[in-house]
């Protein structure tokens, strides 16, 4: 075959043999393998990235969880305080056992048309259902009416800490935004002067 020597060095081809001889000077000199880094060094090199990612994810989850927890606490406090107030007022009008049953048991269906049921227990339930509103509605209406949640000392402390953390983060973000926009403190200071 024409290129047999070129393919598998079988046969003869003086031209290629001459080139091969000339290129021997460039051929790879067999030597020992390189000094390989230890496996722990490699793992250490990549480990800090994983640790950083894990720590960051933990922080994010903690902040989100704290936010959810506080909003839940606010809602339950509000509903609880309103429920108590309703119970107190209802007690004056209806027998105590009926009110208690109405609050504890599952709410009855509201009549959509016709005469509204005037049974005292159902009046209480309707009022409780009115109080149970989505969190978004609470912030606008309930807070304006003065229904503020009652927090324990520990909760107040945690709330203050969270607000502090958020304000620090906000100020940092502001600095970054100003730096990006080129409005650094020095410039604004000189402009004011």
């Amino acid at each position: 075959m024409k290129d047999e020597y070129l393919w598998n060095k079988v046969g003869e081809d003086s031209e290629i043999e001459r080139i091969e001889d000339a290129m021997l000077a460039f051929r790879y000199q067999v030597g020992p393998p390189p000094d390989l880094p230890s496996k722990t060094a490699i793992e250490r090199g990549t480990g800090w990235k994983l640790s950083f990612a894990f720590a960051f994810a933990t922080c994010v989850v903690a902040v989100v969880y704290a936010g959810i927890w506080f909003s839940e606490q606010e809602n339950t406090n509000l509903i609880g305080s309103d429920r108590g107030a309703i119970e107190e007022t209802a007690v004056l009008a209806v027998p105590r056992d009926e009110v208690h049953r109405a609050v504890i048991n599952s709410p009855a269906e509201e009549p959509t048309t016709g005469n509204v049921d005037r049974h005292p227990a159902k009046i209480v339930l309707r009022r409780i259902n009115k109080v149970r509103q989505p969190p978004g509605v609470f912030s606008k209406t309930m807070a304006s009416k003065g229904h503020l949640p009652v927090l324990t000392n520990e909760e107040k402390y945690a709330y203050r800490q969270l607000m502090l953390a958020l304000s620090i983060t906000g100020s940092q973000l502001k600095i970054v935004t100003e730096t990006i926009n080129g409005n650094e403190d020095n410039d604004s200071y000189t402009n004011k002067r």
């Binding site: 024409k2 290129d3 070129l6 393919w7 598998n8 060095k9 031209e15 290629i16 080139i19 091969e20 000339a22 290129m23 000077a25 460039f26 051929r27 790879y28 000199q29 067999v30 030597g31 393998p33 390189p34 390989l36 880094p37 496996k39 490699i42 090199g45």
Partner: protein, 193 residues
């Protein structure tokens, strides 16, 4: 030959090709062991692939520095070995690392000019050898790499296919066309025609 017979032969051929592709290559076992920290296994891989890596690197960096780049290539491969999902694709993956490291060598601060004759160390490189190497370097990438492995490293076509991840058919074509181009560049007339 009837159509159904041709179809049957084609089916057998494609099945054989697929089975060949699926077959576990000999280096796959070594890679597995090297991933588990077996340095002997990686040393064996080094002995198998170092000439091929040297041939690839030699086309891109001065030959005095080729040995260093080969070592750097294998260290990088060792560090990233766990990230290699397909153990059968090791050859192509390693050649890519070699090309990248050779390119980085040029981007770095090191000089890339060949040393003068008197400073080239113990290797006796003739002017003809330099001329041939320059001619090979000026060929298209597919041809020059295959030709370097054949003419400089003295590998057969089958070995080149195994070490680079190319098919034997591609290697055969690259060798044939590359050799034609090299003959033209060197001004060698093909006497056999």
């Amino acid at each position: 030959m009837p159509d159904n017979e041709i179809a049957q032969n084609m089916f057998i051929f494609t099945n054989a090709a697929a089975a060949r592709d699926r077959a576990v290559k000999p280096e796959a076992c070594l890679i597995e062991r090297a991933c588990n920290g077996d340095r002997e296994a990686f040393g064996e891989l080094y002995r198998m692939f170092a000439p091929a890596v040297h041939g690839i690197v030699l086309l891109r960096v001065p030959f005095e520095d080729a040995q260093d780049v080969v070592q750097e290539t294998f260290i990088a491969a060792y560090k990233n070995l766990p990230a290699l999902r397909d153990r059968n694709a090791f050859a192509g993956w390693l050649m890519k690392i070699a090309r990248n490291h050779a390119t980085q060598f040029h981007r770095g601060k090191r000089l890339t000019e060949e040393l003068p004759e008197e400073l080239r160390g113990h290797r006796n490189v003739s002017a003809e050898a330099m001329e041939i190497l320059d001619a090979i370097r000026s060929l298209p990438q597919a041809y020059r790499e295959t030709l370097a492995l054949r003419l400089v490293e003295g590998m057969t076509g089958i070995e080149i296919a195994e070490r680079t991840g190319l098919t034997q058919q591609s290697v055969r074509v690259n060798l044939h066309r590359g050799m034609e181009l090299l003959r033209k560049k060197l001004g060698i007339s093909e006497k056999r025609k």
